[in-house]
């Protein structure tokens, strides 16, 4: 079974539910993590939910000198191995879309991992601007 | 001339022998490092000059030969007149004219220059009769002091490279390994690992490249047997390595030589060059399929560089620091390739075994420790020097019969074997047979064969502190138990010496020692607490005397002793002039007085008093 994560900006109302869902899904030691997704306004009442595109030839993967970023072949997401990451922030600087970010609360670099195969943002998005669809 | 067959080698040997044996009488001057330091080069040149001038019928300039070390360096410069074997000690340039006139021309022996037997106080004319030599059996040192290390022709003359010829032309590599295994040879570098087994494992390890390394790091202070072998008989080491290369299938070898041995490097390099010139090293050795080269690698200058994994990193150009390993270096060693690492003495023994057979070697020594072992005698012993004896000989024989016992009429107290991380054995162990296993069982070890003899004026706690200090400064600092543990153990030892330790401290030391032993990464740390543990095992009462009674039975620990002047004082004023704190007063020819409150307990007065009038309590 193959799934695909899709973003449809024209449906996004900027409600920021995805942000909350993401932060709470990535809670550690009772502290919510930094959200990996941001609905960003590009005009009056017009939003784009910006999140990692899980690029094919991903800059973040290339930039990590410690092999801390690897693609999960099942979900298709590029996941960050916390045990290997040393917070050098090469990936943060290298991602052309700014989608590897620094979680200041946990002093850690984070990025979208598609929640291991059940993206919370898509589950909670009230308008289906975000979807995780089975394609095969 | 390239020697590309056994026949050529034999022919060459005949020529070499003719030259070597040509002079009927020979003047042999030791130009080993010890004698050199005492001016033997001048002695040698003077002989050459005078012999040329005097035109003695049976002594020509060719009769004046130089050799490497004879192992009796404390008596150097040594001169031996052959064929009589007349043995002169402490020969100075000024003595040469007398020797030429009296001995060479007049066939007279000069008593003054003879060796005085340590036991009987009699003069001994012939060196083979000196107990120091008579009791020895030399295999590894067989050519030291008989040939000129800078002449490959000397080595060939005494049978050099015959073992290599035998191995290459009459034995398969497997047969060589079997022979070494059968001989029971165990590594002379410390741990006593069976050499044949090591070679067999390496030979079997699948890889294109195998390395052969010789460990000439000799880091133990006081040990100098490897230096002697490399500097006085370098070809034996090369020959042993080439035989090993043939056995395990190696094309590249390294000799790792301690930083402080520049002369040995020169001698070895000359030997390598000469061997290559003659086709005994390099491509197609002796015209066979075997190609093997040897390079010299200079040591990293630290004791721990002698440890196998550190040594291999150092040879590879990395920091000489031990590496934690679960795969042994025979399988994954230098550049991660199978590597045989053996000690200098181990390699030097190999040609003798191949030539004379495993059974001959196995017949010497004990069942589990075959052959002979070289020891460096040092400390409070009359005959300091290098001795090679059969394994299983007792400590008593080595120390008293060969070494001549303790000087100055003092009593033997302990002997430290195995270098800084070895252990101290007390008088009660004097009849212990010296071999790998019994030394280990007694809480010490063979190590590289250092033996430091101590007399009754030795404090065993201080000895432990001293050796621990050495190890603290030599620890590479990589792992915690060794880096921090040895340091703290040394500090606690010092506390005992200062009379400030409690019995709880002693218990803490014992716990700490155990942690260091089992917890350390490499052999240095694992054997590091030995100086403490072995002295505690045999001299616990001395520790307790420091702790409970605040006394140092050896009369050494400064804070626990007092100096006083007895009635034996003649009033010579010697002590007054040396005392740095002016604690001694008195008039000439009247008994002097020492003020205990001022005295700094430095021992200067004790050292200068000729009348034993200074008392330590």
């Amino acid at each position: 079974m193959t799934y695909r994560y899709t973003v449809n900006p024209s449906r996004c109302t900027g409600c920021r539910t995805c942000e909350l869902a993401c932060a709470f899904t990535h809670t550690q030691e009772q502290k919510p993590g930094r959200s990996r997704i941001y609905p960003i306004a590009y005009g009056p009442d017009r939003f784009v939910p910006v999140t990692c595109l899980q690029c094919d030839d991903a800059s973040c993967v290339k930039s990590c000198l410690f092999d801390a970023l690897k693609r999960n072949e099942t979900t298709g997401a590029i996941e960050l191995d916390k045990d290997r990451c040393v917070n050098c922030r090469a990936c943060v600087a290298a991602c052309p879309f700014g989608c590897a970010l620094v979680d200041d609360v946990h002093d850690q670099v984070v990025k979208c991992d598609l929640c291991g195969g059940s993206p919370a943002c898509a589950r909670f998005c009230p308008t289906k601007a975000l979807e995780y669809k089975r394609i095969a | 001339m390239r020697i590309d067959s056994i026949e050529k080698l034999d022919k060459w040997r005949k020529e070499c022998r003719r030259t070597f044996e040509a002079p009927k009488r020979k003047v042999i001057v030791c130009l080993g490092e010890g004698c050199l330091a005492n001016g033997s080069e001048e002695v040698f040149n003077e002989f050459k000059k005078l012999v040329a001038e005097k035109k003695i019928p049976d002594v020509t300039v060719e009769s004046v030969a130089k050799t490497g070390c004879h192992g009796f360096c404390a008596l150097g410069p040594l001169v031996i007149i052959e064929p009589d074997g007349t043995f002169y000690t402490k020969v100075s340039k000024g003595d040469v004219a007398k020797i030429v006139d009296k001995t060479l021309i007049g066939h007279e022996i000069i008593d003054k220059l003879l060796y005085t037997d340590a036991k009987t106080a009699e003069k001994v004319a012939n060196y083979e009769k000196i107990p120091f030599y008579a009791r020895q059996q030399r295999i590894s040192l067989r050519h030291c002091g008989t040939i000129d290390p800078h002449k490959i022709t000397d080595y060939i003359a005494v049978g050099g490279y015959a073992a290599l010829g035998k191995a290459l032309t009459t034995m398969t590599p497997q047969q060589v390994i079997d022979e070494i295994t059968k001989s029971g040879l165990r590594g002379r570098g410390g741990a006593g690992f069976p050499t044949g087994k090591k070679w067999a494992t390496c030979a079997k390890a699948p890889a294109d490249v195998h390395y052969v390394i010789c460990n000439g790091d000799e880091g133990d202070p006081g040990a100098f047997s490897d230096r002697t072998t490399m500097g006085s008989d370098p070809h034996s080491v090369l020959e042993g390595m080439i035989i090993c290369a043939y056995a395990v299938g190696s094309h590249q070898g390294y000799i790792y030589v301690r930083e402080e041995y520049p002369l040995a490097v020169v001698t070895l390099q000359k030997a390598i060059d000469e061997a290559k010139q003659h086709g005994l090293l390099g491509e197609h050795i002796l015209g066979t399929e075997l190609s093997f080269d040897i390079k010299i690698s200079r040591g990293g200058g630290a004791f721990v560089c002698g440890e196998s994994s550190a040594l291999m990193r150092s040879v590879a150009g990395e920091v000489g620091e031990p590496r934690a390993k679960y795969i042994r270096s025979v399988i994954k060693g230098l550049h991660d390739q199978p590597t045989v690492l053996n000690n200098v003495e181990t390699y030097a023994t190999v040609p003798a075994i191949v030539e004379r057979g495993a059974d001959w070697f196995a017949g010497i020594g004990t069942k589990k420790s075959t052959g002979t072992k070289v020891f460096s005698l040092a400390g409070k012993i009359k005959n300091t020097g290098l001795v090679e004896v059969p394994m299983g000989i007792t400590l008593r024989e080595i120390i008293f019969d060969i070494g001549g016992g303790v000087p100055d009429g003092r009593k033997f107290k302990a002997v430290q074997t195995g270098g800084p991380s070895g252990g101290c054995l007390p008088e009660g162990k004097i009849d212990l047979p010296v071999d790998f296993d019994s030394l280990t069982e007694a809480g010490s070890m063979m190590g590289s064969g250092g033996m430091v003899i101590m007399d009754d004026r030795t404090c065993m706690v201080e000895v432990a502190r001293y050796f621990l200090s050495f190890l603290v400064s030599e620890s590479c600092g990589k792992c915690v138990p060794c880096r921090e543990g040895l340091y703290q153990l040394r500090e606690l030892c010092a506390k005992v010496c200062d009379g400030e330790a409690t019995e709880e401290d002693l218990a803490l030391m014992e716990r700490l020692a155990k942690t260091i032993k089992v917890g350390s990464l490499c052999g240095l740390g694992q054997s590091g607490p030995n100086p403490f543990l072995s002295t505690l095992l045999y001299f616990r009462d001395e520790y307790l005397a420091h702790i409970r009674d605040k006394k140092c039975p050896g009369g050494v620990c400064r804070k626990l002793i007092t100096y006083a002047i007895t009635d034996a004082c003649t009033g010579c004023m010697a002590c007054i002039s040396v005392c740095p704190v002016h604690a001694i007063t008195g008039e000439r020819k009247k008994k002097h007085v020492l003020d205990k409150n001022i005295c700094d307990r430095c021992g200067s007065c004790y050292a200068v008093c000729k009348f034993d009038a200074i008392e330590i309590s």
């Binding site: 910006v50 800059s59 191995d81 290997r84 600087a93 | 138990p481 917890g519």
Partner: protein, 258 residues
């Protein structure tokens, strides 16, 4: 796969996987101070020591560092014998003498009931526990800028010859990996100082925020072929830019559709 016994329980593990990894997967907590997933194990802290034996060893056993010992069939591993706990306690006691100020050391020592060291506190001691994490990570990075210099008790982490390391690129990997936070650094006025050197920080072309050092960016560009202009804008501004670009496309699509 091999089969071993860990604390009496039969466990399967991939052949050659280090024991520490296997043990931890079992939920057993073996202490370790120099272990890190991104670097090769080095065996310097000795806390991860475990006891191993085998059926055919006839009662003979030995201690090995589990971070450095590969799994093999038939191993019988014990992780918390009284002897091991005693060794670990003694090691923490030694650490406490050397790094009395380190919270990490204090915390771990406390687990062994130690609040102060039984030994002499080392006057020149600091909080570096000599775990080599920093030098190893710099090695993985391919810079090898820092290493342990001097010997034995005087050993410290430093640049070559104790000078500022010329090969450092100011990436902070060492400072970040250091378990006791002893590697000092600070960012100020568009520069970063570490190991006695000062580096230029690239500041975001749009908002001015510091990103990474120019040397680090150069290194990534050369080693991993990442276009230089990727590094010129910070992540925040890049997200806004993406929103703007995507939004433009969405609007365009709408226009076309209507």
């Amino acid at each position: 796969m091999v089969q071993m016994t860990i604390n009496g329980k039969v466990v399967k593990a991939p052949d050659g996987e280090m024991l520490l990894t296997v043990i931890r997967r079992q939920g057993i907590d073996v202490p370790a101070l120099c272990d890190h997933a991104a670097v090769e194990p080095c065996g310097s802290c000795r806390m991860c020591l475990v006891e191993i034996t085998r059926e055919d060893w006839n009662g003979w056993k030995k201690y090995v560092t589990s971070c450095l010992y590969p799994s093999e069939n038939g191993l019988i591993v014990s992780t918390h014998t009284p002897e091991l706990q005693e060794i670990r306690r003694n090691i923490m006691d030694l650490y406490l003498a050397r790094c009395p100020g380190s919270e990490l050391v204090q915390k771990m020592a406390e687990e062994y009931g130690l609040t102060r060291t039984s030994y002499k506190t080392i006057p020149e001691g600091d909080n570096c526990i000599m775990c080599y994490a920093c030098t190893r990570i710099c090695e993985v990075l391919g810079r090898n800028a820092i290493s342990a210099v001097h010997r034995g008790h005087a050993k410290v982490i430093s640049g070559p010859f104790d000078d500022p390391p010329p090969d450092c690129i100011g990436c902070l990997s060492c400072a970040n990996i250091c378990p006791t936070d002893v590697i000092e650094w600070h960012d100020q006025d568009g520069t970063r100082a570490i190991w006695g050197r000062t580096f230029d920080l690239i500041s975001c072309r749009q908002c001015g925020k510091g990103i990474i050092t120019r040397d680090f960016a150069e290194y990534l560009k050369e080693k991993r072929q990442i276009p230089a202009d990727y590094f010129e804008i910070c992540d925040d501004c890049k997200r806004v830019e993406l929103a703007r670009k995507m939004g433009g496309l969405v609007d365009l699509a709408k226009e076309v559709a209507s």
